[in-house]
C-alpha cells in the first residue's frame, strides 16, 4: 500500500505558533503523532505565511501542492485549522488529492470551496461557540452561516460545542478545537486515518 503522509496546516497568524509544530513539547502535534506515526514533523514541515490576505492563501495552496510533490507524498491526510482549511480547499481546486481532510473551525466562504472530486473524505469540525470563525468568514464572502458545508457520503459536519458531551460547562472556542482535551472528550481521534 502506498505511504500515507499526514500534515497539520495552521491558520492565520499562526506560522510562529507552537501548537502545530514538532517542538518537543506536549502540544497538539505531539498528540496527533501519538495517534499516527505518519505525521510529518521537524524542520521542513509545511507552513505558510499566515497573513490575513487572499493572495497568501492562494500561494499557500500552491506551496502545499509543491511541498507534497517535493516530499513525494503518495497519500495525503491533512488536519487544518481556520483559514488553513481554506488553503487546503484551494489546493483541492489545484488538483491536490486528499485521502482525508479534517477541517477544524473553518471560516466557510463562497470564495474558498473544496473540489470534492479531489477529496475522499472530509470531516468539518465546528462549534457554535467559536466566535472567530463567523466574523472571519463574514468579513469576506460567508457561505451560509459560515460554519458548515453540505453533508454528503464523503463530507460529515462534526458538531463539537463542548469539551465533552457530559461536561457542558466549558464551550469550545476557535483555538480550542486543536486542544487534545477536546479531541479526547469528543472522540475526534476516530477521524484520523492511522496508516
Amino acid at each position: 500500500m502506498a505511504q500515507l503522509t499526514t500534515v497539520i496546516v495552521h491558520g492565520t497568524w499562526a506560522a510562529s505558533a507552537d501548537w502545530w509544530q514538532d517542538t518537543g513539547t506536549q502540544n497538539f502535534w505531539a498528540y496527533i503523532k501519538s495517534l499516527t506515526s505518519t505525521l510529518h514533523g521537524g524542520t521542513g514541515a509545511y507552513s505558510w505565511t499566515g497573513a490575513n490576505q487572499h493572495a497568501d492563501r492562494v500561494f499557500a495552496a500552491h506551496d502545499l501542492v509543491q511541498w507534497c510533490s517535493a516530499h513525494q507524498v503518495e497519500r495525503l491526510q491533512a488536519i487544518a485549522h481556520s483559514h488553513g482549511v481554506n488553503v487546503c480547499f484551494i489546493a483541492s481546486q489545484l488538483g491536490l488529492r486528499f485521502e482525508n481532510l479534517i477541517a477544524l473551525a473553518c471560516p466557510v466562504r463562497i470564495d474558498y470551496l473544496p473540489d470534492m472530486r479531489n477529496v475522499d473524505s472530509l470531516f468539518n469540525v465546528f462549534s457554535e461557540y467559536d466566535n472567530v470563525q463567523t466574523p472571519t468568514a463574514t468579513l469576506g464572502a460567508r457561505r451560509g452561516e459560515g460554519r458548515t458545508l453540505g453533508d454528503s457520503s464523503v463530507l460529515v459536519n462534526r458538531h463539537v460545542p463542548t469539551f465533552t458531551p457530559v461536561n457542558t460547562a466549558q464551550s469550545v472556542g476557535h483555538s480550542d478545537v486543536h486542544e487534545p482535551a477536546v479531541w479526547q472528550g469528543n472522540n475526534l481521534d476516530r477521524l484520523i486515518v492511522v496508516q
Binding site: 505558533a17 499566515g50 490576505q53 497568501d56 500561494f59 509543491q66 466574523p135 469576506g140 452561516e145
Partner: protein, 165 residues
C-alpha cells in the same frame, strides 16, 4: 445555527464584531474597513486584544488587520504596558511581512506569470503598509516592534513552504 453563548464577554464581543459588516468596503485586494471606522475600531480592538481570552484576542487581530496603519500604530502605543497584547501585535506584523521571504520564490520558474504579478503587487502593497506603520510609530515603539518581529523571524518560509531555522 446560532445558539446562546453562555460567556457574556464572548457574546458581547460577537455582537460588536458583527457590526463591522456594515463598515466593510471591498477593494480589488479583498476586504478593508472604511476610513471612518478607524476610531470605532480602535475602541473595540483595545479591549479585545488585551483580553485574557485567546478567542477575543484573535477577533481583535482580525478587526485590527482591516484598519489603517496610523490606527494600528496608535493602538500599539496604547498597549505599551501590556506584554501579551504587544506579542499578539508582533505576531500579526510578522505574518503580514513574511510575504517578503517569498519575493524570489519558485513562481517565476514555474511559468505562473499571472500569479507572480499578483504576488508582486501584493508584496508592494505590504511593503508600503510596513513603511506607513513604522513611520507612524514613535522611536521607542518602533524599536520595540522591530525587536519582537525579528525574534519571530528565526525561521523562514522556504521555496516549497518548508521551514528552517
Amino acid at each position: 445555527m446560532e445558539t446562546a453563548e453562555r460567556n457574556p464577554e464572548r457574546l458581547f464581543a460577537r455582537d460588536v464584531v458583527a457590526t463591522y459588516d456594515k463598515l466593510v468596503v471591498r477593494d480589488e485586494d479583498g476586504v478593508v474597513m472604511s476610513r471612518p471606522a478607524d476610531a470605532v475600531m480602535m475602541r473595540d480592538v483595545l479591549w479585545l486584544i488585551m483580553s485574557p481570552d485567546p478567542d477575543l484576542r484573535e477577533m481583535g487581530l482580525y478587526v485590527m488587520s482591516a484598519g489603517s496603519p496610523r490606527m494600528q500604530a496608535e493602538l500599539y502605543a496604547r498597549v505599551r504596558h501590556d506584554e501579551q497584547a504587544r506579542s499578539e501585535f508582533a505576531r500579526f506584523v510578522d505574518a503580514e511581512l513574511r510575504i517578503h521571504a517569498r519575493d524570489n520564490g519558485p513562481w517565476s520558474e514555474s511559468g505562473k506569470e499571472e500569479l507572480l504579478l499578483r504576488w508582486t503587487v501584493a508584496a508592494r502593497a505590504r511593503h508600503e503598509w510596513e513603511g506607513e506603520l513604522y513611520a507612524a510609530l514613535d522611536d521607542i515603539d518602533r524599536d520595540d516592534l522591530r525587536r519582537r518581529v525579528d525574534e519571530l523571524r528565526w525561521e523562514k518560509v522556504g521555496d516549497t513552504g518548508g521551514r528552517s531555522r
